[in-house]
Symmetry: C2
Subunit: 140 residues, 2 copies
Amino acid sequence: MTTARAGRARSTRQGVAVESLLEASSGFRSAQDLHAELRRRGDAVGLTTVYRHLQSLVDGGSVDMLRTVDGEALYRQCADSRHHHHLVCRRCGTAVEVSGQAVERWAGAVAREHGFTDVDHTVEVVGTCGECSAGPAPSS
Amino acid sequence: MTTARAGRARSTRQGVAVESLLEASSGFRSAQDLHAELRRRGDAVGLTTVYRHLQSLVDGGSVDMLRTVDGEALYRQCADSRHHHHLVCRRCGTAVEVSGQAVERWAGAVAREHGFTDVDHTVEVVGTCGECSAGPAPSS
DNA sequence: CGTGAACTGGTAACGGTTTTCATCTGCAGC
DNA sequence: GCTGCAGATGAAAACCGTTACCAGTTCACG
């Protein structure tokens, strides 16, 4: 264990499948959703394995995870690995990465004001994107 | 349905128990937690019933609900029924209600900038409160 | 009191996620 | 090319919070 995690990533068909599908997706997607689409594409990956890869990608910081109101976990590969938040379309799920010094400052200030330290925060903005509000029909 | 739902709220021992325990709690608590404490106090309320009351309190807007990272639902009775956010202690769970025009404005601006409409947002700030950072022992 | 609608709560069902464990497979090293 | 094996896989079972079911209880009102 002195030597970090030894041979960390053995390249496998499954790992590549999950990562590339995630990369090709523009919005947040659930594990089951990814699992289903992979199967549909004829490149099936066990559900357990999908979860395993998502988990390590999240741990590694290359994928962001958030929870829906009803507790389901959604994943998304983000271009920017620095701290950022999301603007998500409630209709089509498309997400845009946004950053805002304003919020960061506000969070820090509010926390300090109440004697809180070691502050962290979760901020997600949901709305209806231009495309979706243009064509009200849930398409597909 | 002209006459709203008739005698909507019949005051029951269980309902009072849940509401008052919630009222006496300063932080977010899980349904199971509330259920356990009520039982401990000798004022047991069925788990199903606890969930039912929490549900309607949330619907009625007098209680706020949020999800932990691992998908568990937490509830809290808030003094202010207007829009607000929370500053939660990651150690003891105590929560402070905070409001910030800054965030609201930021969210609106960011959304507009990307063509999103009908915007909503979730913002939670977590940190360690003064008391907890003073006495590092997780007490009780 | 009597009646019925609202409420209660034990138990079963649910759905997403994690664990288990027997099997398989990259990837050295020969 | 083979071989050995640590790491990877995945079907099935376990978990766990939450919800549905439904028979039994309670309360308001006549």
